[in-house]
């Protein structure tokens, strides 16, 4: 009894020290989360954050500098860069999240099966992952995107597949660790079917690192998707996404730096915010 209470108290104490440690980074974390909230809000309700229409061309205010008529200046069609950025957030987030989800599902499944079965299955799946890993993520996505053609779905598939190896490796390693735990053997000795042991005992104990990796992958996926758009492999729509906006502003960089610069800053901030949030989550979930 006393021992049980002591353990409970120790748990509470550990949580307290964790709080005090993180409070040093609370400011950056706060900024990160606030920025992510803004991006999510822009993606969800672009009309609220940017009041003027993103598709209306206005020859009277072409290439105006930031602050003259609009906060972040206008592009060569007279559209507000701020409005375009706000409206581009949805595409960036949808592709980032969907690609991460896809990569996580496929990768985790591959890692789970490889780690649990071992032997020939592990070897085959391991080589498959190695092949995917041979190519840098962006290059792989580039190849897939150009092979499949430009559409939102294809972009998600391309970026998602490039995220598969990371998830597969993390999950496999975790499953190998958890598989040897005594409670897994105890579950087996209680006569549970292998599938049940895998899904109920190994999987729930293996997800924490995957969750952390997923947050970071959302950031990189946004960048990869933007890179593909920048290279012209993205979806051509009336409203450019962040990658396209970067590409669009490139010819005007000497005179109207703001068209390319602001999307660049927004992308950078988003990725940094996501990875800081990921770090925080890692501490929180106690993943090494």
């Amino acid at each position: 009894m006393a021992a049980a209470t002591a353990v409970a108290e120790a748990t509470v104490l550990r949580h307290r020290t964790w709080r005090s440690r993180v409070s040093v980074n609370n400011v950056t974390l706060g900024f990160s989360l606030a920025w992510l909230a803004v991006v999510v809000a822009a993606a969800a309700l672009p009309g609220v954050l940017a009041t003027d229409d993103a598709t209306t061309l206005d020859p009277t205010r072409v290439l105006t500098a930031p602050g003259e008529q609009t906060l972040l200046g206008t592009d060569h069609y007279g559209r507000s860069v701020l409005t375009l950025l706000v409206h581009g957030a949805r595409a960036a987030l949808v592709i980032g999240l969907a690609a991460t989800l896809l990569g996580m599902l496929i990768g985790s499944l591959v890692g789970l099966v490889a780690g649990y079965l071992g032997g020939a299955a592990d070897m085959l799946l391991g080589r498959f992952v190695d092949i995917l890993m041979c190519f840098p993520g962006v290059l792989l996505a580039l190849v897939i995107a150009s092979a499949l053609g430009a559409s939102t779905t294809n972009l998600i598939i391309a970026v998602g597949i490039s995220a598969v190896p990371g998830f597969a490796r993390v999950m496999r390693g975790q499953v190998l660790t958890i598989r040897g735990r005594l409670y897994v053997e105890a579950a087996r000795s209680a006569g549970f079917a292998p599938g049940r042991v895998l899904m109920r005992h190994i999987l729930p104990n293996s997800v924490a690192p995957t969750v952390v990796l997923a947050t970071v992958t959302v950031g990189t996926s946004v960048v990869v998707a933007a890179s593909l758009s920048f290279l012209g492999l993205g979806v051509r729509t009336e409203i450019p996404d962040w990658g396209q906006l970067l590409a669009m502003g490139q010819p005007y960089l000497a005179g109207a730096w703001w068209i390319s610069t602001f999307p660049g800053i927004v992308l950078t901030l988003t990725v940094i915010a996501v990875s800081l949030a990921g770090d925080w989550l890692r501490d929180r979930l106690d993943v090494d």
Partner: protein, 341 residues
């Protein structure tokens, strides 16, 4: 011997680990019986193959493809080793249950005690949620946990080792097994809890008419609860006898050595406790003949060439050419700090 009396009968069980180059024997020709309602203690040093034997009966060793298992394990006249994986799996958690050495890591950290016990109970029978809860509380009370509600709601990290082990035993007993395999169930616990757990196992086997194969390296534990003591060394059964016999007049020099290591509770204590010289041989390089001969005080020239069979000797069975119970030719002393009878 009347065969119907036996619940578990291991005959010539061998376990070999294929390390990719060759087969390493972990258990060699293990032969032992567990009768109904009996507690059999499997004792020996670390690495003597006792845990592997227990895990093999459970069919857990076989899950590792590198392990090769031979011999027969008759459980109620069914050879466990001849069952396919699926039928063996169905026996686990129903006819056979196991309790492990480290209670704190035997429970899944992400689920509450309640959900894990429920999961175990459902292996055995389907009850209404209410009846299930009643059974869980009953099972916890059986193992001496009285604040059931708190324990059921707890996650394993919030419980002490003794509590976790009680929960593990409760879980094993929910299955109402006919044979409980307990792999050093009290080793990780402090002495008072240890005594309680042993008492609990002893009481429950009477109440439930359950047989127990208790793996331990602690002769004291064996003395306390065993109906029969089986001593293993380097993967072999070297002695099998009643505890009275084993403790009063051990036949195998190894058993004698193990007993000599226990400090006497009365009288003067030796300044240096006697110990068996050397250590358990690596299974990949066992000495020829009797595996114990390099450490044995009674070794004969014959011991270095021939492995003795397990034969009846003074009321038990022993695998030794020169047992302590037989006043044979004076043995040439090979090891000087070994225990003597």
């Amino acid at each position: 011997m009347p065969a119907r009396d036996h619940l578990l009968r291991l005959d010539g069980v061998s376990v070999e680990l294929d390390n990719g180059h060759r087969d390493i024997p972990l258990v060699r020709d293990a032969t032992l019986d567990v009768r109904k309602g009996e507690i059999v203690c499997l004792v020996g040093e670390s690495g003597s193959g006792k845990s592997v034997t227990a895990r093999t009966v459970m069919g857990l060793t076989q899950l590792d493809r590198r392990m090769k298992v031979g011999g027969t394990a008759l459980f109620d006249d069914v050879d466990l080793f001849s069952l396919d994986a699926e039928r063996m799996r169905r026996m686990r958690g129903r006819d056979l249950a196991m309790v492990f050495q480290e209670p704190l890591s035997s429970l899944d950290p992400v689920f509450t005690v309640e959900s894990q016990l429920r999961e175990g109970l459902r292996r055995r029978e389907r009850l209404s949620p209410k009846a299930e809860t009643a059974r869980l509380s009953e099972a916890l009370q059986e193992v001496g946990i009285h604040d059931c509600e708190r324990v059921l709601r707890s996650y394993p990290h919030a419980l002490s080792g003794g509590m976790c082990q009680r929960v593990m035993i409760a879980m094993a007993l929910l299955a109402r097994p006919r044979l409980l395999l307990a792999d050093e169930p009290t080793t990780a616990l402090d002495v008072t809890i240890q005594a309680q757990i042993l008492e609990l196992i002893d009481r429950l086997r009477h109440e439930e008419d359950m047989s127990v194969l208790l793996v331990t390296h602690d002769m004291g534990v064996a003395a306390e609860v065993a109906d029969r003591v089986v001593v293993m060394y380097a993967g072999r059964v070297v002695e099998d006898a009643d505890p009275q016999k084993v403790f009063a007049a051990p036949a195998h020099p190894y058993t004698g050595g193990l007993l000599a290591c226990i400090p006497p509770m009365v009288g003067a204590r030796p300044v240096v406790l006697p110990a068996i010289g050397g250590s358990v041989p690596d299974p990949s390089s066992l000495p020829g003949g009797c595996a114990f001969h390099p450490r044995c005080v009674n070794a004969l020239p014959r011991c270095t060439t021939e492995d003795p069979p397990l034969e009846p000797e003074a009321g038990g069975t022993v695998a030794c050419w020169n047992p302590l119970t037989r006043e044979a030719a004076p043995a040439p002393e090979l090891v000087h700090n070994g225990g003597s009878a």
